[in-house]
């Protein structure tokens, strides 16, 4: 009997846990997008008013970008300083690929950042600011979409997880 109870509890918990995980991804995506926006906003300031060299600019952007986006930007700064003939765009691209497992961005979100890779640091101030601002606008749109999805799906996946666990227990009983 006790064994049966423990089994039932596990059967409920497993799908619930999966549901909560999926829900958490929906919760983290807008936060990460916002982090990238904060980082890029700092980058715009550094480029526009400070004309700060890219590694330093990336580092101060990383400080403003929160944990996930910050780790990626800081990693890009590190790669860039390590040298080896890579451009800032490639440094950022590599950093993003390295952290792909721990971010909740969709391919479309990554595409926004990827649009920056070939131009990052490669043109004059005016042009840099224009590209960065465009990316900021697109990130803001993506964030709004992510927030909407979060509102709709975050709770749903939690409920569905728990309920399907219960249903499973009832059916198997």
């Amino acid at each position: 009997m006790t064994l049966k109870l423990v089994g039932a509890a596990l059967t409920v918990l497993a799908p619930s846990w999966i549901g909560f995980q999926i829900a958490a991804r929906y919760g983290r995506r807008p936060v990460e997008l916002r982090g990238f926006q904060n980082g890029l906003a700092v980058l715009v300031t550094e480029v526009e008013y400070g004309a700060t060299p890219m590694p330093d600019a990336l580092r101060s952007a990383a400080r403003a970008a929160g944990p996930v986006a910050g780790a990626i930007l800081a990693d890009a700064a590190r790669r860039l300083e390590a040298g080896g003939g890579i451009t800032p765009g490639e440094a950022l691209s590599d950093a993003l690929a390295e952290h792909r497992g721990s971010v909740c961005l969709t391919p479309a979100d990554e595409e926004i950042l990827a649009a920056l890779f070939p131009v990052l640091g490669a043109s004059d101030r005016h042009d840099q600011v224009r590209h960065l601002r465009l990316a900021l606008d697109r990130l803001a749109a993506a964030e709004a979409e992510a927030a909407d999805e979060r509102r709709r799906y975050e709770r749903m996946y939690r409920y569905v997880g728990v309920l399907s666990g219960l249903a499973l227990v009832l059916i198997l009983m």
Partner: protein
């Protein structure tokens, strides 16, 4: 022959695909490397005193441009970006002026497509030619000249007159260095020198710090128009000597006069192949007429760059 610091100061900033080639090719050169010319889709060229050579795909030197390696778009862009330390926007002024300065004072000339705005170059895009000019200091270039420019432990205001490529800037740099350091054998103590380096050629400043040896008592005003720069130095930095490259505009002359009235000696250069050339330019003629300069030095390329043709005592006649 590899120039000193070549690996760290130059090759770090060149597209990785080209570094190996350049290293091998530069080692094979019969004389120290002077210029690396990277042009998109055109042969990779090395220039050394007395000649040039192209680089073959195996890193050997070749005289045939058809057999040379041709850097592609990515090589150019990558090299440009690396030289700008991934921050082209931070060197806007330099890029607009068509050059970048590397650590060690090496200058990189840029050529590509100019974006103009109201008739002025706003920036260069699609950089398609890079000319890496390897800085070589010639300490002691002014050794033979300096005794003629000093009298009673005092440096006399001097105008260096030379055609292009005759070593005018190199000589100016070494004069500045020696004046700043002091020359005990001439009874010359170290002087405070203010240098206006409008085109960043004399001191090769990187982020305001001179990359060339311009002496311990030298302050460099980098990238500043000469006339304004000279006034600023005199007012703010109490120099005993001010130096500037290529003077010639009326406002330059006014600034030089201002310096002389303040009791500051002036060291300047001007384009020309002789005193007559200089006298034809109104601003300089006026300066010579009022006796602003006590010495004029004529340079030529006759026996290589930096050949001193004559030192003139402008107060009297020929000294040497």
């Amino acid at each position: 022959m590899l120039p000193e610091g070549f690996e760290r100061e130059i090759l770090t900033y060149v597209s990785p695909r080209l570094t190996g080639l350049l290293r091998r090719a530069a080692e094979a050169l019969p004389a120290p490397l002077e210029e690396i010319r990277i042009r998109q889709d055109r042969p990779l060229q090395l220039v050394y005193p007395g000649g040039d050579a192209f680089v073959a795909p195996d890193g050997r030197l070749t005289a045939d441009p058809g057999r040379a390696v041709r850097p592609d778009h990515d090589d150019l862009q990558r090299t440009f970006q690396l030289m700008a330390r991934g921050s082209v926007y931070a060197w806007e002024e330099e890029v607009r002026g068509g050059f970048l300065t590397l650590e060690g004072g090496h200058r990189v000339g840029l050529c590509g497509r100019a974006v103009t705005e109201a008739g002025r170059i706003r920036t260069l895009t699609q950089v398609a030619s890079l000319n890496i000019r390897i800085a070589r200091e010639v300490p002691g270039a002014a050794d033979g000249l300096l005794p003629h420019l000093v009298r009673g432990g005092r440096f006399l205001s001097t105008l260096l007159i030379s055609p292009p490529q005759a070593g005018k800037t190199t000589l100016l740099r070494d004069l500045v260095r020696q004046l700043s350091a002091g020359v005990p054998r001439l009874g010359l103590r170290g002087l405070k020198v203010g240098l206006v380096d409008e085109r960043s050629e004399v001191a090769g400043c990187l982020r305001g710090v001179p990359q060339r040896d311009v002496g311990p008592r030298t302050d460099v005003l980098d990238g500043c128009p000469k006339a304004e720069g000279l006034m600023l130095l005199i007012r703010a930095l109490s120099p005993e000597v001010v130096a500037a490259d290529e003077i010639g505009r009326p406002e330059d002359a006014t600034a030089v006069m201002e310096a002389l009235h303040a009791g500051v000696a002036v060291l300047a250069t001007a384009h020309g192949s002789g005193l007559a050339d200089v006298r034809r330019r109104p601003a300089l003629a006026e300066l010579l007429r009022v006796g602003a300069f006590e010495r004029a030095v004529l340079l030529s390329r006759r026996r290589g760059p930096g050949t001193v043709e004559a030192v003139l005592d402008l107060a009297r006649e020929v000294v040497a």
